[in-house]
């Protein structure tokens, strides 16, 4: 159970980094790729998939 919580925290941290980089990015292809990668992270955090 604790390990699972740590994994959700890990995913939350990665999602935070992705959002931070996304906001800093100035290149549309990079932005699109960040968004695509962010979707599974967020849906896992929300326990939807």
């Amino acid at each position: 159970m604790i390990v699972t919580i740590l994994y959700y925290l890990l995913v939350a941290f990665v999602a935070f980094l992705v959002i931070r980089n996304l906001l800093k990015s100035r290149e549309w292809q990079e932005e699109a790729l960040y968004v695509v990668f962010l979707i599974p992270l967020l849906l896992r955090l929300l326990r939807l998939k």
Binding site: Y7, L17, R20, N21, L33, F37, P40, L43, R44
Partner: protein
């Protein structure tokens, strides 16, 4: 239209969309996404939101392994640990060329073997090793070839070999028994590569090399470098030795634990958030590829395009299949990167299994050949990354030419492993 005709049409449309996107200078990752979306539309699935997002989940855990492992390696580099090791190795072995080459090959093999990504090898130890090789009078193109080839082998080396893991998962085969079939060829071929391409090298000019290599912090020592690795391996071992008493941690958490220890032991203050942000940025092409490949594979499966490739491959004459592995594997890698494993690797292993070859050794042989495709356009991600990282100014073709001899050796070794997989089955004990 019959199902095979539709599948062929979808596959054709996907290839056309991919090529068009590349012509329009869209990145490989997004080109794959474009191919997937066009394939779904042509295949009559419209814009299948659920499938697109479900496909993006395919390699989520592997992406987490990537990110935590690379973060660990980057923190080690920031702490001065990597520079410390390179300087110590150079000082200790600079008079003994052969031993130095062996040490450099091992230094190149470790990051990729642990993370499954050749790019991590290039970024972590590649530039430092290139500096040493430069002081041994080895031309830049050949130094780049050494780093690229060994980085590829490091990615195929155990414990984390993505091609083997993804293919094995696709055929419901345990990722067990791969350790030696991957380790032996990777180590031998890495040594062969460095010795072949370093011919005519002079003993390193120690003082000049040490001047150019980054300084290691004065308080850095072997213990501080070794401790996070020791923890990582201790956690793996604990899981194996006490499987029913020790919690399941998974590789991402083990790498994260190693990263935390690296931070705590670092003699210099590390800007953690910046390093973590840079890590995600550095890995974007890789995790982006994995995410888009997942989507592409899902849409190919949905529309029957994947089945078309699979059935075409498994119904070809076996000898033709094996003898053309040297072409099909690197080219599929160049186009799909790791996506080549589920798309092409899975039917190949099923075919080899049917004709009674040893699927583990055969897959290990294929896994050694696959990374060569990372130097071939359109993706050439690792090839380009290597050339950029070590600052090679010569044309890309010169780098490719330097890769040729070790590449042929790798192809030969990998193909022979497939052919004689049954005889080599004794390697699957670990």
């Amino acid at each position: 239209m019959s199902m095979p005709e539709t599948a062929a049409l979808v596959l054709g449309a996907m290839v056309a969309a991919y090529i068009l996107a590349k012509i329009l200078k869209v990145s490989t990752e997004l080109s794959m996404l474009a191919a997937a979306l066009v394939g779904a539309a042509v295949g009559g699935a419209g814009f299948p939101v659920r499938h697109i997002v479900e496909g993006a989940f395919t390699y989520l855990d592997i992406c987490l392994i990537f990110i935590t492992a690379t973060l660990f390696m980057n923190l080690l580099k920031e702490s001065g640990g990597v520079a410390f090791v390179i300087r110590r190795v150079l000082t200790r072995f600079h008079r003994r060329k052969a031993l130095l080459f062996v040490m450099l090959a091992l230094l190149l093999l470790i990051p990729g073997a642990l993370t499954g990504a050749g790019s991590v090898t290039v970024l972590i130890t590649g530039s430092l090793v290139a500096t040493v090789l430069g002081y041994m009078n080895i031309p830049r193109a050949r130094a780049a070839a050494i780093i690229f080839i060994i980085a590829g082998l490091s990615a195929a080396a155990p414990p984390v070999s993505l091609w083997a893991m993804l293919t094995a998962a696709g055929v419901n085969m345990p990722y067990v028994g791969f350790f030696l079939p991957l380790l032996v060829p990777c180590v031998l071929l890495a040594l062969a590569t460095i010795f072949i391409l370093s011919r005519g090298a002079k003993p390193a000019d120690l003082e000049a090399a040490l001047r150019e290599l980054p300084e290691a912090p004065p308080k850095m020592n072997w213990l501080k470098v070794a401790a996070p690795f020791a923890l990582f391996f201790a956690l793996i071992l604990a899981g194996r030795m006490f499987p029913f008493g020790f919690p399941i941690l998974g590789l991402p958490l083990m790498f994260a634990a190693a990263a935390v220890v690296t931070m705590l032991l670092s003699p210099v203050k590390i800007p953690f958030l910046d390093v973590a942000g840079r890590t995600v940025h550095q890995l974007l092409p890789l995790v982006g590829t994995l995410t888009c490949v997942g989507i592409l594979v899902q849409i190919m499966t949905l529309t029957g395009a994947r089945g078309l490739i699979a059935i075409t491959v498994v119904t070809l004459p076996v000898t033709v299949v094996i003898l053309t592995l040297f072409l099909t594997l690197p080219i599929s890698e160049a186009v799909l990167m790791w996506g080549a494993a589920p798309v092409l690797g899975v039917p190949l292993v099923l075919l080899f299994n049917t004709i009674n070859l040893n699927p583990i050794v055969a897959l290990a042989g294929m896994s050694v050949i696959w990374p060569l495709g990372d130097a071939i356009p359109p993706t050439a991600i690792i090839g380009r990354l290597t050339v950029d990282t070590i600052g090679m100014k010569e044309p890309y073709g010169k780098f490719l030419k330097a890769c040729l001899v070790p590449a042929l050796l790798i192809i030969l070794a990998g193909t022979l492993m497939v052919f004689f997989s049954k005889q080599l089955a004794f390697l699957t004990v670990l």
